[in-house]
């Protein structure tokens, strides 16, 4: 278990050639083997740069998915050694159809500065996904052409998938309901 207390072991050597190439180009990146899948934890400052590298030099022509997670209330925080965990993580899944390979990139996003550079200029397909992450978790993607809400109404306050957003904050009302007791 990599998240156990005790002396952290040296970061694992990538068993995946793509991850090895990413680590060679971005030495601060950390490799993790997540149940047989290759994952690279990259610095927030290099986020879009890594995506550009994957697309232009590694043949990852498709960004399959972008999403994010709020780790505020985690019981056990799973984080490989060498990564300093922050509250949010932005996750992007890339696919190289010609090589039939996948790789996942994760970047840590601090609570005080919930932003990351947008992947949309590199992968236009990340457009909707980044709007969804902004809408539901309040992470701003810099350089996105249309950083607006996508699922919630435009005038909505707060970001529902944050762990400190109380569910059932807005009472459900029905037509002809008696006034709340």
């Amino acid at each position: 278990m990599s998240d156990d207390a005790g002396a952290p072991a040296a970061p694992p050597v990538p068993s995946d050639e793509v991850a090895a190439a990413v680590l060679e180009r971005f030495p601060e990146a950390v490799f993790a083997d997540s149940h047989g899948q290759a994952v690279v934890y990259v610095a927030r400052s290099a986020w879009a740069e890594v995506a550009g590298f994957l697309r232009d030099e590694q043949g990852f022509s498709m960004c399959v998915d972008v999403t994010a997670v709020d780790h505020l209330l985690d019981g056990v925080r799973h984080s490989p050694s060498g990564v300093s965990p922050e509250r949010f993580e932005v996750v992007a899944n890339f696919l190289a159809p010609a090589r039939n390979r996948r790789i996942r990139a994760i970047c840590e996003v601090p609570e005080g500065e919930a932003s990351a550079s947008s992947l949309t200029p590199v992968y236009p397909g990340a457009n909707f996904a980044e709007r969804e992450v902004f809408d539901l978790l309040g992470i701003v993607f810099e350089g996105h052409p249309d950083m607006t809400r996508i699922l919630m109404p435009d005038e909505w306050e707060g970001h529902p998938l944050r762990k400190d957003y109380a569910p059932a904050r807005v009472p459900v009302t029905f037509k002809g309901d008696p006034a709340p007791r």
């Binding site: 399959v64 998915d65 780790h71 985690d74 799973h78 899944n93 159809p97 998938l161």
Partner: protein
């Protein structure tokens, strides 16, 4: 005339090298991707809203279109009208309850949602599923692909004015739904594929019922083929309409039949096999032109490929357990609860607290009828996920609408949206 329906002949789909289509395709290549600059120097144009309650928008999709008379200059999809916070709900539900939630996302193919969710949880648990469960899952996924594509044939026909097609599509879909009801107990939102296997074993007489349904569906597909594929009115409405290229599809994260219509035979069942797909014989259907017609016939012939897989499942269904016997994950049989204290405790723990999943994260993807459906799961070691994200293929595929619609007519926009086959429950989640 009923054409030869041997689906092995993928090459025979390559036709339609009409000059008009080529020209439109060249224009579509130049189209600006969403987020890029809008065309300059617009004259007397009009902004029109289509939906969110338009019958051809498949639920509650709203399309904002800028029109110059009948020509669409640009279009933007506005979504979120069906957003019910299902990913937030998933964080409140235990892993046991999670299937009930995800099955309601893509309501036209609920079993793909259950499958991808269960596979993601199983990966975090490092759980092996018995072979019989694997094959049952594969058969159910294919049956669901058939019902989903039959629904597409019906609604696509209706959108383009072929109302009789709507009736025929519903007719055959009903046969498949009846079969799903016989096996799972429900017509939709089955909650059948669960973590560790499936909810129940196949009922008595499932082989005969399945084969009878396959015969009916194959007969139906031959009828649709005869009715539409060479129908001049149908060709007029669909050939060369809504063109998109491989490069655009890859850049815009488009998967499924829309991607395969551009000449790229990418299907996760073949490319990255899961379940037992590398054990069965089937073909990936793809075409070269990337228009509405191609997307129609890809889905039509995929029904036959699914029938082929289902027939192999009937023939080769392995015996054994239909779910894992690990009682930390699977509830004990009802009869055991009356006689075994341990079984009672397991049952009680499973349905009150659920099972704990080791901390970690994973992404699992399968091929749904609409493309790659993925589940990104984060666990902190408790019985509820920290985050459960579904990568809905419809959500991403809708991004193709803008480039496809550009430069076409309003009536073509209806055909194009229909050919993307978006399910709004999955888009908005």
């Amino acid at each position: 005339m009923i054409r030869d329906l041997d689906p092995a002949g993928v090459g025979r789909l390559e036709r339609q090298t009409d000059e008009g289509a080529q020209e439109l395709r060249a224009r579509s290549r130049e189209a600006v991707l969403p987020g890029g600059p809008w065309p300059e120097g617009l004259g007397d144009t009009m902004i029109v809203n289509m939906g969110p309650q338009h019958p051809s928008t498949h639920g509650v999709l709203r399309i904002m279109m800028e029109l110059d008379s009948e020509e669409v200059l640009r279009a933007k999809a506005v979504v979120g009208y069906l957003h019910t916070g299902m990913e937030k709900t998933a964080e409140e539900l235990s892993y046991v309850q999670g299937c009930t939630n995800v099955t309601r996302m893509d309501y036209a193919s609920p079993l793909s949602n259950e499958l991808v969710y269960s596979m993601a949880v199983e990966r975090l648990l490092d759980l092996e599923v018995p072979q019989r469960a694997v094959w049952i899952r594969m058969m159910m996924a294919e049956l669901n692909r058939m019902s989903s594509h039959l629904l597409f044939q019906a609604s696509n026909g209706m959108d383009l004015g072929a109302v009789s097609m709507m009736l025929y599509g519903w007719r055959e879909r009903e046969e498949v739904l009846r079969l799903l009801e016989m096996i799972t107990g429900l017509r939709m939102n089955h909650n059948y594929i669960r973590v560790g296997g499936v909810a129940a074993d196949l009922p008595d007489g499932w082989q005969e019922a399945t084969l009878a349904a396959m015969d009916l569906v194959e007969k139906g597909v031959a009828e649709y083929d005869a009715l539409l594929t060479e129908n001049p009115i149908w060709l007029e409405r669909t050939v060369g309409v809504g063109l998109i290229t491989v490069e655009e599809c890859l850049a815009l994260s488009i998967t499924g039949p829309v991607l395969r219509s551009t000449g790229f035979a990418w299907d996760l069942r073949k490319a990255q096999p899961y379940l037992a797909y590398d054990d069965v014989d089937f073909d990936v259907i793809y075409t070269e032109n990337g228009d509405v017609f191609d997307r129609y016939r890809i889905r039509l012939y995929e029904i036959l490929e699914s029938a082929k897989i289902v027939r192999q499942c009937v023939e080769r269904m392995p015996a054994g357990d239909y779910r894992t016997q690990d009682h930390k994950v699977t509830p004990p049989p009802r009869e055991r609860i009356n006689e075994s204290m341990e079984a009672l405790i397991h049952h009680f723990k499973l349905f009150t607290e659920g099972f704990r999943v080791p901390a970690g994260e994973t992404y699992v993807a399968v091929e749904s009828p609409r493309g790659e459906i993925g589940c990104q799961l984060f666990s902190d070691g408790s019985a509820r996920p920290v985050r459960m994200h579904i990568r809905g293929p419809s959500f991403y595929n809708l991004q193709a609408m803008g480039p496809m619609v550009r430069g076409g007519l309003v009536a073509d926009a209806v055909a194009i949206v229909s050919s993307i086959d978006p399910i709004m429950g999955e888009v908005d989640r």
